[in-house]
Symmetry: C2
Subunit: 464 residues, 2 copies
């Protein structure tokens, strides 16, 4: 039997784990600096917590866990079980008798569920971050996995736009630290509502939003065609177009929008909340933090999820060598916890697309080089007294905080050197008879190829 792993899942080798940890640690440090708190929820949720939250497509793509002990079911329950099995085979997809647990599908619904279960004990507003895997039974393809990591930061229980500004700051600070130049696009659902009023179809906000979301892919003509199928004729659609062509600085854009939306209450409210968000952002951040990044007001930004109600954001990498879709996004939602019976809690959050961010940093050669191999020092093992000498050196190095390993067997020299090469260490130490007699060790630098005899007392400064 040749072993494998399920389609759409991945083993992360040591080098990859280290690079991923570098991303997680960078984000964690920033979240903590901004006063956000870590939360972790179980991989399995009750299926009832998840179903109906992600649309019909989502219900189908949730990984369901088979109940255990089914073989012990007897009598009436057994008959019931057969009946319920039919539901799994129908459009119902599931039955609690067959499957009552499912794998986490995103981090937002478990967060809402957690807030509802714990709101009496939580200090509100609650600012939390969460970095965990999620699972979806999507068709795997390049860059899309069945197990992938989400990383979310949300504030729940406050309507202040300071929260939006802080989340924008988390984005610009994080991507600056990760060495990724980005544009953080900002829009408001209220402006999109204003657009539908401008088009004379205030009831078609979602249709217009969904069509606009495809602007990059299908062009303006495509958007017009799609809108016509939704009952928005070309003449009405044309009223939207000028708004999408606004250029200039953010202030210039907002001023131009204010003129175009003069008659739309929603539109003006959207402009006002973007202005206030940017104002708070500027009070909180220096230009250095946003080094290489920019915040851009973009009325064409739509974002598909229909629970957003206020400011929405999306991050794209602006480096000319990188062609990648969105690497982050989020926005304000007014009543997420209402799904679980707790009304009136407003929230706002952003998400980091860890897998894509990883790919972008890789393309930009942006991972710190010292991440790749872990311990940089291998001590060869020449057996007998030289082995004991090797272990004494190893003990000293570790006491000095230098990660190191010894080849555990007195194997042939060639075999040990082959290991050193494959392992990718930087220094190989050769503790032979002569070295031992001299209280020193030969140090071979694999990068330069040079070799020198180093007294033990100087090892730390040579290797550290």
């Amino acid at each position: 039997m040749k072993p494998g792993i399920p389609q759409g899942t991945r083993d992360f080798s040591p080098e990859v784990v280290r690079k991923r940890q570098y991303i997680f640690n960078t984000l964690r440090t920033i979240f903590e600096l901004y006063g956000f708190q870590p939360l972790e929820t179980p991989a399995m949720e009750n299926l009832t917590t998840l179903t109906g939250k992600y649309g019909e497509e989502g219900d189908r793509l949730i990984f369901k866990v088979l109940n255990n002990g089914l073989h012990e079911t007897t009598g009436d329950k057994r008959a019931k079980l057969e009946e319920e099995w039919a539901k799994v085979l129908s459009k119902a997809y599931s039955s609690p008798v067959v499957t009552e647990r499912a794998l986490r599908y995103d981090l937002t619904i478990p967060f809402a569920r957690y807030v509802v279960m714990n709101h009496n004990d939580l200090a509100l507003p609650f600012r939390r971050y969460q970095m965990q895997p999620v699972w979806r039974a999507d068709r795997p393809q390049r860059g899309r996995y069945r197990e992938f990591w989400q990383c979310d930061a949300d504030v729940v229980g406050s309507k202040s736009l300071i929260n939006e500004a802080e989340l924008l700051g988390i984005y610009t600070t994080a991507f600056a630290q990760l060495g990724i130049p980005v544009a953080v696009k900002v829009n408001s659902r209220k402006l999109l509502q204003g657009l539908s009023e401008l088009a004379g179809h205030p009831d078609k906000m979602m249709d217009i939003t969904i069509a606009l979301d495809k602007l990059d892919k299908i062009g303006w003509d495509g958007v017009v065609s799609e809108l016509e199928t939704k009952g928005v004729d070309a003449e009405s659609a044309a009223k939207i177009q000028p708004v999408l062509h606004i250029t200039g600085t953010n202030t210039e854009r907002l001023d131009a929008l204010a003129a175009l939306f003069a008659g739309s209450e929603s539109g003006l409210a959207g402009i006002a909340e973007i202005r206030e968000t940017l104002h708070y952002y500027q009070l909180l951040h220096t230009d250095q933090q946003a080094n290489g990044s920019e915040i851009v007001v973009d009325v064409s930004l739509a974002r598909g999820l229909n629970y957003y109600t206020g400011v929405i954001v999306e991050v794209v990498c602006t480096h000319p060598n990188v062609a990648m879709g969105s690497i982050g996004g989020g926005g304000r939602y007014d009543d997420l916890t209402g799904l679980f019976g707790l009304k009136g809690l407003s929230g706002v959050g952003v998400s980091f697309g860890i897998d894509r961010i990883y790919d972008v940093i890789e393309q930009l050669n942006g991972f710190p080089t010292q991440l790749t191999s872990g311990a940089q020092v291998l001590i060869l093992n020449f057996g007998g007294d030289n082995e004991a000498y090797a272990l004494a050196i190893l003990k000293q190095l570790r006491a000095d905080g230098i990660a190191a390993e010894v080849y555990p067997d007195a194997a042939k020299f060639d075999k040990q050197m082959k290991y050193a090469n494959k392992r990718g260490v930087r220094y190989v130490l050769l503790p032979g008879d002569d070295e031992r007699a001299a209280g020193a060790v030969s140090v071979k630098n694999f990068e330069t190829g040079s070799q020198q005899l180093v007294p033990l007392g100087e090892l730390k400064s040579v290797l550290g």
Copy 2:
């Protein structure tokens, strides 16, 4: 609908996540110092990878994931599906047509599977550590969860006892750093084999091992009764007893054992490998590293898993206030990857019981106090110009690397102070009119109750 989470799973609140991270980070730092490399494997494995690896009990306790798209199955395949469903309801527990994936049950089998899939690219010996959740459909009870974390370190591809010594060192170093006094019990499967020879039943090693494993629980009389049911009479069993009563230093114990096992090849081999392991351990470690911990040769240590072949170890906390079973264990196995067709790779590994270690540190009050609340500084929000002033202070603190947050709304003073209390911050900053006029801010220390006016230029030294 009142939301909940599946039985045996847990939400980890911010404080708990931080404490867990402290354990993981402590272990990670030591693993890296010892030259071990991180590995992560998918939560879902092919069910065929897992079945048959954990005994019949294990097969039943594996969480299986229902295949997706079952509702789309038609025609002949539909009939087949019904047939296969019967297998799920039988002692077969599963069928690939209904469930072909399952949740990780431990970290050892996925590690073996990874080594077999990648052995051409791996530098052998491969030293890896892995810290990930596993899932078992066990009956939940106090301290036993359906989702829990394992943390393993293994070396595969080397028979050298230096590896055993390094793993012992990882144990003593880790528990010393975590502030847990422990006894690391050491034995060898070869000594257990010797015991069965001593009893005159060389073929009953596993029966004797399993009975001895219960010595703490059922006492010597219980062991004798159990052995009688396995065909080892009381007279034979009595030959083992003196071995279990050996005391003294490790050297004294080993000398006494050498005399008792004079006629047993296995027994002498076991004594020799323990001696060599302890010798290597002493070459590699100072007494300070094992501060509060001790390594104890213990012939009654059995460990249930039947894949161990050489040295076996187990860790128990020796603090008088802590009553807890094993918090770690491991040993050498000679052919783990043989399960997946790769013969002849010897391995040795140890495991840390993260959940129990967490409980022990909690009982000993051993978590660093600064872990509990994250950001220690809350800036109150008095609105208008004072809000802008609050944000300017926040910007300065973060630039100085001090984690801080502002209350995002200009809410009533009482409400903001109530938040500060519930949130558990250490300092509250009050930027009002007077403070702003003075270029300073009032700092209230929640621990001491004292309040002082601090010029902005001195904030860092007061809060840092």
